[in-house]
């Protein structure tokens, strides 16, 4: 397994299908937080965290039990963020963590800006939480689980799903294992 430390600089060597452990700091944002971040960018206002070289994790965790940094914290479906991703890539966002495929326009922008999309295993939320060591809400606490969290992670387990050249594990994997006897997908 490869390891990466944030902030990310060059992600060109990562290839779709690589299993990676991430160390350092990642930030969380889901639908509601994305809408606010994109609005700030449009208004030319400062963002609540340094986006250059950062990784955003699409997650809405369960509440932490006393003494724990966080509850269960697996990825949510990334495609919901696709309409709100490009402004962040333009600000220097280098990595995104979620689950499921991305739209062609996001993949094109990832190629243009040299960014990578990681998948975490959806539904493995208790396991993933074990690699999250510190958590702090840094923006929009009123959004609850959807607030922006700063997370310190150790060996956070992800798979490169779409690399900075646009190689797409979701397409490659399905093409490899799809039975040729099956009609083409509509």
């Amino acid at each position: 397994m490869l390891t990466l430390t944030t902030p990310l600089r060059d992600v060109k060597s990562l290839r779709a299908g690589d299993e990676v452990g991430i160390n350092g700091v990642i930030y969380t944002a889901r639908d509601a937080a994305h809408q606010r971040l994109v609005k700030l960018i449009a208004e030319g206002k400062p963002l609540p965290f340094p986006v250059e070289g950062s990784i955003i994790y699409y997650v809405g965790p369960t509440p932490a039990k006393p003494g724990e940094p966080i509850g269960s914290a697996g990825p949510t479906t990334s495609v919901r963020m696709d309409g709100l991703t490009i402004p962040l890539l333009e600000q220097g966002l280098k990595g995104m963590i979620g689950k499921g495929g991305r739209s062609p326009h996001v993949i094109e922008a990832m190629k243009e800006h040299g960014a990578v999309y990681f998948a975490a295993v959806g539904g493995a939320a208790a396991l993933i939480a074990q690699s999250i060591k510190e958590v702090e809400v840094i923006a929009y606490p009123e959004l609850g689980a959807e607030a922006v969290h700063r997370m310190v992670v150790e060996n956070f387990p992800v798979i490169v799903a779409i690399d900075s050249e646009g190689n797409n594990l979701y397409e490659q994997g399905v093409a490899t294992y799809r039975d040729p006897s099956l009609k083409e997908a509509k």
């Binding site: 299993e19 369960t62 495929g101 295993v121 493995a124 798979i159 594990l169 994997g173």
Partner: protein, 280 residues
């Protein structure tokens, strides 16, 4: 007439919500183990190992299996010789949900108005399906539903002439389009016939069946087998990374329908297929 107390329904619903969110049903765990053994893709095998390990961690640490602890769906079968005393059944269920999601550190994922989208703060209301049955007992089935998979579900009103082939094509298309979004390996519930809403409800309910159980009608048991084989040929695989283990089971339910219609509903459940039941 047998009396079932409001407070007992609250307590039982709470216990069922906590249990469902922390413990993977034994049949699902077993099916995931078999899928891990049978998966051809090395990455798919690793993913299934991770999923199995997650279930162990959730169980031993009393954590939610998935951070999406769902909107709570409850099937309440009320014996018509029983009387519920102390308040409304749906209020009792909502109170049980409220207590479980607060005290159990579960995520509150429900917004009160679908357009205004303000979180209700306690994961209520539940979606409650009540049916009257014979006897004097109350059977509660609690099935928290995550929306990664719910969003990938679909319903189509087929033409009768499209027949069983149309049904198969629609299911394969739905699973293929869904890709990795619903967290495969999935469990697929299919409702065929009835009306628009009847088909959806049958699909939702059929995912509760035990994995490995056969449909009592031979032609539907055979259809379930064929559908499982077909969807596992799509190549979607664990998490959509490619593989042979796209679904753990396909369950079909049917109902008589109109001469002019062939409604088909496909409800997709993720691998965290949570459902528990109790009888009061």
């Amino acid at each position: 007439m047998r009396v079932i107390k409001y407070d007992d329904i609250v307590a039982r619903t709470k216990a069922l919500c906590l249990d469902a969110n922390r413990h993977l049903p034994a049949d699902v765990f077993g099916a995931l183990k078999r899928a891990q053994e049978q998966e051809v893709s090395p990455l798919g095998k690793n993913v299934l190992d991770t999923i199995l390990e997650n279930a162990e961690i959730a169980r031993t640490k009393s954590m939610a299996l998935c951070q999406d602890t769902g909107m709570v769906v409850v099937f309440a079968e009320v014996g018509q010789d029983a009387r519920i005393e102390g308040g409304l059944l749906t209020d009792a269920i909502d109170e049980g949900v409220r207590q479980a999601y607060d005290e159990g550190y579960l995520r509150k994922s429900v917004v009160g108005d679908p357009l205004e989208r303000v979180n209700t703060g306690d994961n209520t209301p539940a979606v409650v399906h009540v049916s009257l049955v014979a006897g004097d007992q109350l059977r509660l089935t609690v099935a928290p539903k995550g929306f990664g998979s719910e969003n990938m579900s679909a319903l189509r009103m087929l033409k009768p002439a499209e027949g069983v082939q149309g049904v198969k094509d629609f299911i394969v298309e739905t699973v293929t389009k869904a890709g990795g979004n619903p967290c495969p390996p999935i469990i697929i519930g299919v409702g065929i016939g009835g009306t628009f809403e009847k088909a959806a409800l049958m699909a939702k309910r059929s995912v509760l069946r035990e994995i490995g159980s056969k449909h009592p009608k031979p032609h539907l048991a055979q259809l379930e087998e064929e559908l499982l084989e077909l969807v596992n040929k799509t190549g979607v695989g664990p998490q959509g990374f490619g593989g042979t283990q796209t679904a753990l089971a396909v369950f079909v339910d049917t109902y008589p329908t109109h001469i002019a219609g062939l409604p088909v509903a496909v409800n997709i459940n993720c691998h965290v297929a949570r459902h528990v039941e109790a009888i009061l």
